[in-house]
Symmetry: C2
Subunit: 164 residues, 2 copies
Amino acid sequence: MNWLDFGVDNCSIARTLDVVGERWTLLVLREAFNGVRRFDDVCEHIGISRGILTQRLSTLVDHGILERAPYQESGSRTRYEYRLTPKGRDLFPILVALLGWGDRYRADPAGPPVLLEHRDCGRQVQVGLHCAGGHQLTGPREVVVRPGPSAQPAPKVPDQQAHR
Amino acid sequence: MNWLDFGVDNCSIARTLDVVGERWTLLVLREAFNGVRRFDDVCEHIGISRGILTQRLSTLVDHGILERAPYQESGSRTRYEYRLTPKGRDLFPILVALLGWGDRYRADPAGPPVLLEHRDCGRQVQVGLHCAGGHQLTGPREVVVRPGPSAQPAPKVPDQQAHR
């Protein structure tokens, strides 16, 4: 397919970025995947302002990615922590993919700051590409992009632009 | 490990986001993976301003993710197109992960706008988690996070905050 013939208004990458594509949002999700679920803990650990964190958590709850759960420490009023829903946990490959590229190209000379291990066997975990036929793929050159059921034609451009 | 005991200044997720974490940057990369490499084509297809596109392309070239290559159409001056380097192509799993979540949770009722197929067998391609021991993983609960060689202790917080 010629990608330029198709519109990008309903692109699934763009739609994911609409929800979780902002830097602080992804760092809040990183905290959640690491078990840091309480407002003050997240605030302090990543150095985000309370206002921005409130807004990002609200967006994630509205989209069903995090859910608020009450907790109470002795002598304190009820507070809330933020837990990943199944929809939120499905974001995990995005974070592992970001981590893997950073580990490879941006880590300190000593190596990565964290290691992901398979709980069962202890070997290192990473993302990979595979197809429904069970084949492992090594990169984009093994992939063909085709129009899907909601593919849309690109909007027509004004003549002035078309003849540039 | 208790994630709060560790600093996040050298987090590989954050460092990847430093380079490619901005929305327009990821959409420019999406275009590159789909073979759209020329300034005017990218500009028009995704509706990005020329100034922002110039800045994003410059960042991607500076980081060795895209490389400029000259081309010339008859009767025109030499222009440049932007091609993914091997370092750039290694970002592919990030885009496929973003695509997969969007296809699942944000697509139109008809289905996804594009399909990724394995060039060899035609079956659908997606990202998955696997370990170096050859096991497929289904999600974060099968993963243990451990300190890596460049793990850093969390900075000490002032007493005032520690006793909040």
